[in-house]
Symmetry: C2
Subunit: 354 residues, 2 copies
């Protein structure tokens, strides 16, 4: 019961086109969503399609708008996303950053008036294809409680770095700056099981293990959890991401960003940041050293022999291998049901299993 990657993409493209998206933009969106599912980040794949469709149908996002450069130097650009689809803005900015890094060693591009752009790692891995390092950051709806605070003021604010090793190997960090994503709390809640201390707060601003209360409160703890285990560092990292996104870009930022799944009548006006770095402008042999370090890490003695030491990006590679072996993505039954209903509503061909 798996769906081949190409079929998943076909379905997503047709759905996007059915609500009025031009083919090329629909394909950019589908590529990012399919990549998320392929890599095992199901929350950011097909699962999000209906959210993007709703944004287009309500004209909250302009599916056919194109981003434009507002200010530019050999190493930087400030971009107006023009409320286009997140991946359209993201790909535009990353390509720009790559061109600049190829010319002068580093490209730093920020965009305002963007939308949800899917997994941050999509953009940074683009840089790998050019032998470059890539970084990306996006702000998101308020969902994280700054250390000591009772309420949320920053988003899950993810950051990603991709760096090339030898023979196609790579280090790909793609992480929210909160301890966990909301999805992990939702999963425990559905199972009726408690959450781990340090994931989320109750309405009084204390760490809670009650999954239901945590879900309703909607206030994640930053990476590091409470103050005693240095949660203020995760809070600081969330603020770092916001500084490079909303504050540098002049978009909405922090508590001003529309709430998740609320206020969907107004554009998201997200801020995003894209960086490319050309290792050829620094010490020769970057890929050799990167691979040497990754090889060392992967060969370390694990505390539990059944759990080998990994490099960030390895869990995703393992998932991709599994998908390749099975001939497709093993979507959850509920996901397939929702997709069937969607196909009917949009009058497109339903998802075909392999």
């Amino acid at each position: 019961m798996v769906v081949p990657i190409q079929e998943a993409k076909r379905f997503m493209v047709e759905a996007m086109v059915a609500v009025g998206t031009v083919q090329q933009h629909a394909e950019q969106m589908a590529d990012v969503l399919v990549a998320a599912d392929y890599r095992g980040h199901y929350s950011h794949g097909l699962n999000r399609l209906e959210m993007y469709l709703a944004d287009i149908e309500t004209k909250t996002t302009d599916a056919n708008a194109k981003p434009a450069v507002l200010k530019e130097s050999p190493a930087t650009a400030w971009v107006d996303g023009n409320n286009a689809l997140g991946p359209v803005v993201g790909n535009f900015c990353m390509q720009l950053a790559i061109q600049k890094a190829e010319a002068v060693g580093v490209g730093w591009v920020v965009a305002k008036r963007s939308n949800h752009y899917g997994i941050a790692g999509w953009y940074t891995r683009t840089a790998l294809q050019h032998g470059l390092l890539g970084m990306s950051f996006t702000n998101t709806s308020p969902l994280m409680g700054p250390t000591r605070a009772k309420e949320a003021a920053l988003g899950t604010n993810p950051l990603s770095l991709a760096a090339p090793g030898k023979n196609g190997d790579s280090f790909v960090l793609d992480m929210a700056t909160t301890a966990v994503a909301v999805g992990k709390i939702e999963m425990q809640r559905r199972k009726g099981e408690p959450i781990t201390e340090g994931w989320a707060q109750d309405p009084q601003g204390q760490s809670t293990t009650d999954a239901d209360l945590a879900f309703k409160t909607g206030c994640l703890m930053p990476l590091g959890g409470p103050e005693i285990t240095s949660g203020y560092k995760g809070y600081g990292l969330g603020l770092l991401v916001e500084t490079f996104c909303g504050v540098l870009a002049g978009s909405a930022f922090g508590p001003n960003i529309r709430r998740w799944m609320e206020n969907t009548d107004r554009p998201a006006d997200l801020g995003q940041c894209f960086v490319a770095i050309n290792p050829q402008f620094f010490a020769p042999g970057f890929e050799d050293r990167m691979s040497s370090l990754m090889d060392h890490l992967r060969s370390m003695h694990p505390a539990d022999p059944s759990k080998p030491v990994l490099v960030p990006g390895d869990p995703e590679l393992n998932h991709m291998k599994m998908v390749d072996e099975q001939g497709g993505v093993p979507y959850h039954e509920n996901q397939l049901k929702a997709s069937a209903a969607l196909a009917k509503r949009l009058a497109i061909r339903p998802l075909q299993e392999a």
Copy 2:
């Protein structure tokens, strides 16, 4: 029983000069150490002076060497630290990054063959004086256990970001990517008290609360602690820092770096990275938005009314205010005794209390 800032600096400069450092380099070193004490990071101030002196006396560090540019573009530079004092390399690189950011919007400078450079925040705060954002990263001796590993392979690998707000206000993040610094474990050990779960590992690679065992094992956990609370993110951040430092610079990296307080017969060959970003190349009004966000955060309802919500950098500002009010730094008695012995050995004037 406090020592005025200027007197602390005088003492450090004289000590550095007594072992053969030229005045200008001695002053650069003293400025960084005094700044650490002023800001309350005592582990990185006067406390470290004897380590630097030993490196100079054994000629492991070349106190009078100057860094040199090996490769350069309008936006980047690759620097050979020439085994000079860390602050001499760091100041050189940050000035270069600032010049480039003033010209083309961003400056990205990496150095190999550097030495311990003190607090990362020293360099990033230099960028503030030019209305720029500053970032800095350094690799350090192996002391952090990658998630699932039994042993250390990366250092505490700190990162810093400084960003200017209005009227001299600022956001200054300066953090190790480990859950805590070794000093915190040392302190619990001296008090005979346990450490918090998630700070450090035992020899089997499990989280321990035994301060003595943790100190002897010398394997800190990354920010986030164990895998269940996303410690792999902190591990990924440590690897990000190493990528921008040792791997990009072509210096020693990861497990190849000499052990802390061991192998002191060979140069540290540290890698460091310095970035400056000019907000004028992006959306107008950066400082207004930064201050608006910081004001919001500081005015949030705290879970505990006696513990206000802070912005990274605020604890240091509070400490500086305390030092100003007391007319000097309140050094620990043992620190003063050690300094008296040092003064005798080097035949310099002892530290004078206010």
